[in-house]
Symmetry: C2
Subunit: 332 residues, 2 copies
Amino acid sequence: MPELRKDPIIGRWIIVASDRAQRPDDFKMPPVIATKRENCPFCEGKENQTPPEIMALRKPDSNPNSPGWQIRVVPNKFPALSVGGNLDKKGMGIYDRMNGIGAHEVIIESPEHLLSMAPLAEEQIRNLLLVYRERLNDLKNNPYLIYGLIFKNVGETAGASLEHTHSQLIATPIVPIRINQEITGCKNFFDYRGRCIFCDIIAQELEDKERLVLDDENFIALNPFASRFPFETWILPKQHLTHFENIPQSLIPPLARILKDIFIRLEKALNYPPYNMLIHTTPFNMFEAEYYHWHIEIIPRITRMAGFEWGTGFYINPVPPENATNYLREII
Amino acid sequence: MPELRKDPIIGRWIIVASDRAQRPDDFKMPPVIATKRENCPFCEGKENQTPPEIMALRKPDSNPNSPGWQIRVVPNKFPALSVGGNLDKKGMGIYDRMNGIGAHEVIIESPEHLLSMAPLAEEQIRNLLLVYRERLNDLKNNPYLIYGLIFKNVGETAGASLEHTHSQLIATPIVPIRINQEITGCKNFFDYRGRCIFCDIIAQELEDKERLVLDDENFIALNPFASRFPFETWILPKQHLTHFENIPQSLIPPLARILKDIFIRLEKALNYPPYNMLIHTTPFNMFEAEYYHWHIEIIPRITRMAGFEWGTGFYINPVPPENATNYLREII
């Protein structure tokens, strides 16, 4: 019997097809492999093929936009939003519009032509997290921008247009609707029960254990109860933290460790799948609310999304999250 | 300058990349073509390869599950939901679940191996709409089921697992989240302004005309102001109608006509694109509210959805809907 499960945060029901549950090898998605190493504009030595860098971690004696860097942040060459100008908010009858002001940056995660976050050294991931933090804090100074979205696409199927491992940051003058819905759901729960729903989820998952992939003193990695996608994995700080850009220094090493661990497990279980990673955090202009909790969502893209799924928000997941947890736990 | 636009119904902001607007030929999606005509289980003569039919429009002297039909409805061979049993609703700590009770039917739209709705004769589309109506009314009798979702996937990219033109019907004991969000948005608008927001949209689009593809006495086809996808097209009845399953007989011929017209235009403009079609309608258990209005959404799948789009509900549309309207209008 398939099961209907409700996401406790935004109230979305999904179908878990527990009858004909699929195993990792049932997904015949071709693995993400390097095919465009030549002429990659993100490799060391090709610095002149990107717009000039916004910041970089580089050797003290090296020059901007030249070799010698570890991580490089550049404007997106084809930005979705435009940096200059004003918002010019306007109603047009029933409709509302504003200028597409915002930032669209690319964070090149390695000078080498790697394809994913998994092969990065832990130290490199720590630096990457520090770069995320720094870029968010910088963009937060722009009074027009109220949200900073960090995401990562790996593999063409997941929307990556360049295979060299990179993250993106889009900062916007609006809050994306899904984040708004999560905040509303969290607020409703808080008004009713006086607690952060993510903190409650963490507590229950630590007790239930059946969807718990990993945990340590500071972080938990789990497959959510109402996973939309096979092997969907979330990483959350155990402590109630609202704004990713305020992550304490002490949490950087354990977050780098658990991220690397999870990516290695996912790549082994699913044979180098395309995937997306997103950081969900509190809007810049919201105070440190008791009810919203930043977290990282990782979604392997091993199933094709049919029309009704994004057209209705109603997903069919062929792998119960408890099965995904079992597979991921067994990997050493 | 790109533009941020707000969907007036659910409040989703999207980016319209009006600077580097793309033309239809910029999308190099391979056209949907027939490659699996042999051994197609939906072709006339292969009736034994599907589960026994639920209903069919067929010649009076023909037998069920044999040739002689025009439209055939069969249970999905791999149903997402299960017909028998009870809901067994249960809380598990913070979580909610129920049994996956529901119907999952396939509506084979033609005995011939066609790939889309466009080549069907208008009369065939009329019959198809009558079949939709009949199946919804039948499933409505099941007290467990409160929503009936009709959708159609064309092309592998759009999630179709068989290429022979068919629709699907999933009836569920829950309301899909996107529909809930639309209903909430409509209710808020109604509470504030006392009118149906879809009726207001229709009025404004008829006046503005720049997103109006077609209209006649009964229906309007438009590219919505905050289109998430290039060439996203909606068809709405001009009259305020809430439940698709109550569509009056007199509206069947004009709806068939405008559907065929729109599909032909989309296929000519975009060279036989993969697409999805969805009918958004009021839940079975809701009365004829003044605020929700059924409509059909058609989404060509010519761009790849990146991670942040479904992870945040924040879409980037490289074709302003006004440009899409121009292209679609020019096609004869």
